[in-house]
């Protein structure tokens, strides 16, 4: 037993850690999953119907109710303007990025603060972070139901190619959902973990992950339980969704729609997706779009589909080639290729990947589940200890804006993380007391071709002649791939105040407001749980009393019996109430008013027991009524 815990000054222990389960979450564009690992055996947590996948779809009912998963997806056609799908494509994105995605998003986007986007749902304008948080809440709830214990910690996977803004947005979403992120793990790395442990493989492996919205490819070296990522690359907006769009466009043309409504567009997308998935096994088929009072029939064959999407698959192959080069390897060096993501079921994808690597790809773990399984393994490793180790890299170079908008790289892509880089800056004017530092991420030469991560104003620089001040700025990328910046004025040794201006993402005030809203949400959740508990308690008490009446009713005088029966009727009525206090009040009343009955039953119990029964039985009998609970026969 711990009597006293000693902590470093200023440090508080993290509460209730050991009690809570840590799960792995694959937060996908199309589908999300939650898995839990115990003793190195990860398992996907399913609902009562045995479904593991939770479609990443959120529906906002008119009465304020939020629905996630299959039921939300089913509403897509009835209430298309209240249903959001593929929100992952907007995580950490700014308005500029959204313009580039124009036409591929099945929802209405509008500008928000800080160059952020918001999704218009009826009267509300929601951020991608809030919408993602709903999916995470649903997964958390599923895990809690499945594991029958609170779940507050998770490993969440992100595409390896996610940049800092998208990672930060994912972390924010988790926080809103009441989950502490133990680690953000890259999806292909998680997949490798699930495969590697399964097979005890050694050597060089490629993970090719083509999901609904994103493409990722990573090269890993597996060595005695170490999973070392050598290089990674991808595209944050290339996946099954894009195939659906190409097919849907053709269907809409065939239907003669030039300016389809959002409802018609969604119906076309749905048909397109069905067509695409069917053509993985079938050679051809016909699909019907029945929307806006008009039916149209569309024929599509696999060859035609493949011709349509070949340029996109070729692009993934080109990216994979570059990543192999980045790892200073040749395709022939790769021992095995692991396929991840629903879109890798397509025969064309398998053929192209096999041709690139000259080997048949591995797909023996369900490509939908492998990422979540790996995340669960990592959650167990982080909380329970493990002999495996993931060594990941940063997918994108980090740079600083210099004169003329040119980028100076300070951390190259594929550098192992955590990593830090310190750089000295100086003033270029006499008496200059502030300086703007602009951090960007990306591989291009010019600042405006890269993603702007943050603009920092270094203030309070002591007034010195130009070039005399020395400010050391440290850029650090942690094991989650998230950037932090610290600055110090070296000549005077004074710590500098840094004004952080995230170029994209949530302003601290926004986050604050959302957390507050989430707290209200959480409080409502707690209330509901307490109410449920009270009801269960009341029901149990009334049942117990009923059976006691049946067994030992003869102990009561008629007037006493009426008192007990009144209490019973009262509590049974109270169970229907939505007011916890009323229910609790009746439970207490019942306890008090039936005390004498319990005591009499206890007496009888002792007498029966003493009539020649062993002592331990006696004790057991004594125990039961002592809890104030008439024993049921």
């Amino acid at each position: 037993m711990v009597l006293l815990e000693i902590h470093e000054p200023g440090e508080t222990p993290r509460p209730h850690e050991a009690d809570d389960a840590a799960v792995g979450i694959d937060l996908g564009t199309t589908n999300s999953l939650v898995a839990y690992s115990h003793a190195g055996k990860p398992e996907v947590l399913r609902n009562i119907h045995g479904e593991g996948l939770v479609p990443s779809v959120v529906a906002y009912d008119r009465d304020g109710e939020v629905i996630v998963g299959y039921p939300a997806r089913d509403r897509m056609l009835d209430a298309p303007d209240r249903v959001v799908s593929s929100i992952k494509r907007l995580m950490g994105r700014g308005l500029e990025d959204v313009k580039a995605l124009a036409g591929t998003l099945p929802f209405a986007v509008e500008p928000g603060a800080q160059g952020m986007v918001r999704i218009r749902i009826g009267e509300r304008a929601l951020t991608p972070v809030e919408i993602s948080a709903e999916i995470l809440r649903a997964l958390k709830k599923r895990a809690e139901t499945g594991l029958e214990q609170p779940v507050t910690r998770a490993v969440i996977t992100v595409p390896a190619y996610f940049d800092d803004a998208a990672r930060t947005a994912t972390r924010d979403a988790a926080r809103l959902a009441g989950l502490q992120v133990l680690r953000l793990v890259n999806e292909p790395t998680a997949a490798a973990l699930a495969y590697g442990l399964d097979k005890g493989s050694e050597g060089l492996y490629a993970i090719y992950d083509l999901g609904g919205g994103t493409f990722d490819v990573s090269i890993l070296k597996l060595d005695k339980g170490v999973f070392q990522v050598l290089a990674t690359g991808g595209h944050t907006a290339l996946g099954g969704d894009d195939f659906d769009h190409l097919i849907a466009e053709q269907f809409l043309v065939e239907r003669g729609e030039t300016n389809p409504s959002i409802g018609t567009a969604k119906a076309a997308l749905r048909a397109a997706r069905e067509a695409k998935e069917t053509l993985t096994a079938a050679d051809a088929g016909r699909w019907i779009i029945d929307v806006a009072g008009r039916k149209s029939v569309h024929a599509l064959g696999r060859a035609e589909l493949e011709a349509m999407i070949t340029p996109l698959i070729e692009e993934t192959v080109a990216i994979a080639r570059r990543v192999i080069e980045d790892a200073r390897l040749a395709a022939a060096d790769i021992k095995g290729v692991v396929l991840v993501g629903g879109s890798t079921r397509m025969p064309l994808v398998r053929r192209k990947v096999a041709a690139l690597f000259g080997t048949e790809p591995l797909a023996d773990i369900d490509p939908d589940e492998v990422v979540a399984l790996g995340a669960a393994l990592q959650a167990e490793a982080l909380t329970g200890g493990s002999s495996t180790l993931l060594l990941d890299v940063t997918p994108l170079s980090l740079g600083l804006e210099t004169m003329g908008g040119v980028v100076e790289r300070v951390i190259e892509r594929n550098t192992p993380i955590p990593v830090a880089h310190a750089q000295d800056f100086t003033t270029y004017q006499d008496g200059q007391n502030a300086m703007l530092i602009h951090v960007v991420q990306g591989e291009r030469e010019m600042v405006d071709q890269c993603r702007s991560l943050a603009k920092f104003v270094l203030c309070d620089i002591p007034p010195l002649v130009a070039g005399a001040a020395r400010i050391k700025v440290t850029f650090a990328i942690d094991a989650d791939g998230i950037l932090t910046v610290a600055a110090r004025e070296e000549t005077t040794g004074a710590e500098q105040r840094i004004e952080v201006k995230p170029s994209y993402g949530l302003a601290p005030e926004d986050m604050e407001a959302m957390l507050k809203a989430a707290m209200v949400h959480a409080r409502a959740d707690v209330e509901l749980r307490l109410l449920t508990e009270s009801r269960v308690e009341a029901r149990r008490a009334s049942l117990a009393l009923r059976s006691a009446l049946q067994a030992d009713g003869d102990l009561l005088a008629p007037i006493e019996r009426r008192t007990v029966e009144n209490a019973l009727a009262g509590i049974e009525r109270a169970i229907g109430s939505a007011d916890r206090d009323i229910i609790e009040g009746w439970i207490e009343k019942l306890d008090a008013e039936t005390m004498f009955f319990a005591e009499r039953r206890m007496d009888r119990g002792i007498r029966t027991a003493l009539a020649g029964v062993a002592i331990d039985r006696l004790e057991r009998n004594l125990e039961t009524p002592a809890r104030g609970e008439p024993a049921a026969e």
Binding site: R14, L391, P418
Partner: protein, 190 residues
Amino acid sequence: MFCPTCGVVLPSAAIDHFVRLDLARGYDVDLAELDRRYFAQQRQLHPDRFATKSATERAHSLAHATDLNRAYETLKDPLRRAVYLLELAGIDVTGETKTSADPTLLAEVMERREALDDAASPSEFAAVVDAAEADAERCRAGLASAFAAADWARAGALTLRYTYLARLLDEARARRGRPTSSPAFAAALK
């Protein structure tokens, strides 16, 4: 690295990369051995091992892992290793002031770059790359003997040459591997 009595991880000390990875200081590094040492240390010190530990321990582990990564990256790469060895000897070859040091070297680099730009076919391109690659290999061999003989002047000159070749090769790699332009989406679904 760990407190001998209570076992908590201690702050990362400022030690040189060779000491950190427990390797003899020199240009010849056995890369398999380097991997082994690096993995062994990361197994003990990586932040993933400290996810549920105190904030102080987590901060120390982060610093250790960051320092280990820097050491590993520096010693793994033959060019960065050379630069680092020179740095340890108090010599700065790649600083801004030295870039114009050798006019014949500059002229040669310009020439190769133009050859790369003018390459009319993939095979011509590959020929330029192969020649640069072979030259880089000669640099590495020369560096090994220069460092072994503590011939700092020769090591410095070779490192400078190697720096230019590496830059050229990086560029060639970037050009060859550049992904095709991103897909164009029709606007029917606006």
